[in-house]
Amino acid sequence: MIKTNDLILRTTTTLIAFILFGFSVYLFFAGHNKPGGGFIGGLMTSAAIVLMYMAYGMESVAKIIPINFRVVIPIGLLIAVGTGVGSFIFGQPFLSQTFAYFQLPILGKTELATALLFDLGVYLTVIGVTMTIILTIAQDRKDETA
């Protein structure tokens, strides 16, 4: 199969993928006070990764991001359930959340909540599930023609 020259797609992807990653991280952290959160942040990150897959093809992206997305799902779930179970240690009911204010170097006075950890679990699970679905369907086609 002759590859078409997709220089424009690849060049814009290098730029846009960065913006997408940045925006998804922004959405993830914004979730507590503005629209956003783990779910939409995770979807946005997966969108960026999918864009890279579309521009560069399966093999090269698999080399750049050497992650087995199937393992990301249980990691995310473990973090999410872990934040719930963590409250057992402090004698609180399951899924209790807490927060505290910290003086951080650049950001100044910041509220850090354990709800963010739960959101991190959601974020990873969403990336894992989305990428597993898309990559499984994509690879299925390749196996058939081979």
Binding site: V71, P74, L78, F88, F94, S96, Q97
Partner: protein, 493 residues
């Protein structure tokens, strides 16, 4: 505040997640799965003893007060059902390695298995209508994965029907919950129950009640909505069928029991009469199905349906005795359906076919298995010393006290036909001449027998030792007739 109540949900959930990390290391995965089910059974037994001693356990997750947060309510009814669920989980975990191929096991069987157990326990324990929906989805998602595991042609075909129907009924569930929310303004079951009495227009509540019943009846396979069940329960692997047959329809029945004893008790003339009619029809059509086929797997799958009819009859009659009977029958039926599906799995494996006409003479090779099956038939039909008898007796006593004579006649007649359909398998498969050229595999038979014998032993104890269990069952019946107890324990007034 007690985190004990959440443990039956969390332990299988964590186990399922952990086992997803290394699906290929089979000996380790199997060992861990067996260990976790036993550990979980021990924990649940402790919770059961605790609840029996100290009364209902309430957990307000995240320390949010009752009507505002999600609450987990571990009352005696829920804990009893969770305990039964875990007993079946142990039997299934020990049966699974023999019944599944290595390839099926490596494709995350145990992860889905534990998610299913977690979802079922969650559905039993939750005290929130929308949370009930979420746990329904958890167990249904796991069941979708388990039903196609292996990817046989028949499995793919039946899973499509199963999936479409369950998606449809789940969608109706959400609609019904949104109606409930728009009428009473809450999804907490205790608060709904409290507010239902104050709604001026009872008609809309009756409509919502029937809609919710329609949803749960689809999950539980009640008469006009049972069509999906027999085929989709007979195509997957025997372990999966056993889990489905023992747990899934029972979650539907439990939801009907909970919702129509706690929340919608305002128009019994309509709803509970509807239950009685449907219960009668469910029994008749289920039994006709069981007699109509020569496929042994289908016969057992059809036998789920009349059992659902029996339990619904208890809810329809709505007296203390009949509700006790429903609870007793629910526990009995979970155990015996688990055992029967495992037995049939062993039978089909050893006979090499699921066609009754091609089997015969298996008792010459596998006497223990044969007599276990005979015992299971007697338990299922409700022959006196066994557990099926006590449940049916309570149900019939309750119905006679309310003078519902016709349902009693239908119930007795369908019991007779259930016995007939089971004995047909016993005579066809175990009696008669040996089939020529059938390889005899005594080792496999022995491996299958362990979990089956365990479940059957429990079933026999449930019947013979009915006097030990009866006080607890009777107190559940009283508890269900007095919804104030539930409301007070949750809302703490």
């Amino acid at each position: 505040m007690s985190n004990l109540a959440i443990l039956p949900i969390i332990i299988p959930l964590l186990a399922g997640i952990l086992l997803a990390f290394f699906p290929k290391k089979l000996p380790l995965v199997r060992g861990l799965a067996k260990l976790t089910t036993i550990l979980n059974l021990a924990v649940v037994t402790y919770i059961f003893a605790f609840v029996k001693q100290n009364g209902t356990l309430i957990l307000e997750t995240g320390a949010w007060k009752a009507p505002f947060g999600i609450i987990i309510v571990a009352d005696l009814l829920a804990v009893t059902l969770v305990l039964t669920t875990n007993i079946i989980a142990v039997a299934a975990a020990f049966y699974a390695p023999k019944s599944l191929t290595d390839q099926q096991e490596t494709f995350y069987f145990y992860s889905f298995f534990f998610l299913l157990i977690s979802g079922v326990s969650g559905a039993f324990l939750t005290g929130d209508l929308f949370n009930l929906f979420v746990f329904f989805e958890v167990l249904l998602m796991a069941s979708y994965a388990l039903i196609v595991l292996g990817g046989g042609k028949a499995q793919l075909r039946e899973s499509i029907k199963y999936l479409l129907l369950n998606l449809f009924s789940s969608m109706l569930f959400v609609t019904a919950v949104s109606f409930v929310y728009s009428v009473v303004g809450t999804v907490n079951m205790a608060q709904i129950a409290e507010r239902v009495k104050d709604v001026d227009q009872q008609g809309i509540l009756t409509t919502v009640a029937v809609l919710l019943f329609f949803v749960f009846a689809t999950k539980a396979a009640v008469f006009p909505l049972y069509y999906w069940l027999p085929n989709s329960y007979s195509v997957p692997n025997p372990v999966v069928s056993a889990l489905f047959g023992a747990l899934l329809t029972k979650v539907g029945i439990y939801s009907i029991l909970r919702v129509f004893t706690l929340i919608f008790t305002h128009d019994q003339g309509l709803t509970h009469n509807l239950f009685l009619w449907l219960a009668g029809l469910t029994m008749i059509f289920g039994v006709i199905g069981a007699l109509s086929t020569n496929n042994v797997k289908l016969i057992i799958a059809y036998n789920i349906i009349p059992a659902v009819g029996f339990m619904l009859m208890g809810i329809g009659v709505f007296t203390e005795t009949s509700l006790s009977g429903t609870v007793y029958y629910l526990v009995h039926d979970m155990v015996i359906k688990g055992a029967l599906f495992l037995l049939i799995g062993a039978l089909v494996h050893l006979a090499g076919t699921s066609d009754l006409r091609k089997m015969g003479g298996l008792i010459h090779h596998y006497p223990l298995l044969g007599w276990l099956f005979f015992l299971a038939s007697l338990v299922l039909a409700g022959i006196p010393p066994f557990s099926g008898f006590i449940g049916k007796l309570l149900l019939l006593q309750g119905s006679l006290a309310k003078e519902e004579i016709s349902i009693v006649i239908v119930a007795l007649l369908s019991s007779l036909l259930i016995l007939f359909s089971m004995i047909r398998i016993f005579i066809g498969a175990f009696w008669g001449e040996k089939v020529e050229g059938l390889p005899v595999d005594k080792r496999a038979a022995r491996a299958f027998t362990g979990p089956i014998a365990g479940l059957l032993a429990l079933s026999v104890i449930l019947g013979v030792g009915a006097e030990w269990f009866y006080p607890a069952i009777q107190s559940i019946g009283e508890y269900l007739m007095a919804p104030e107890l539930y409301i007070d324990s949750v809302l703490k007034e």
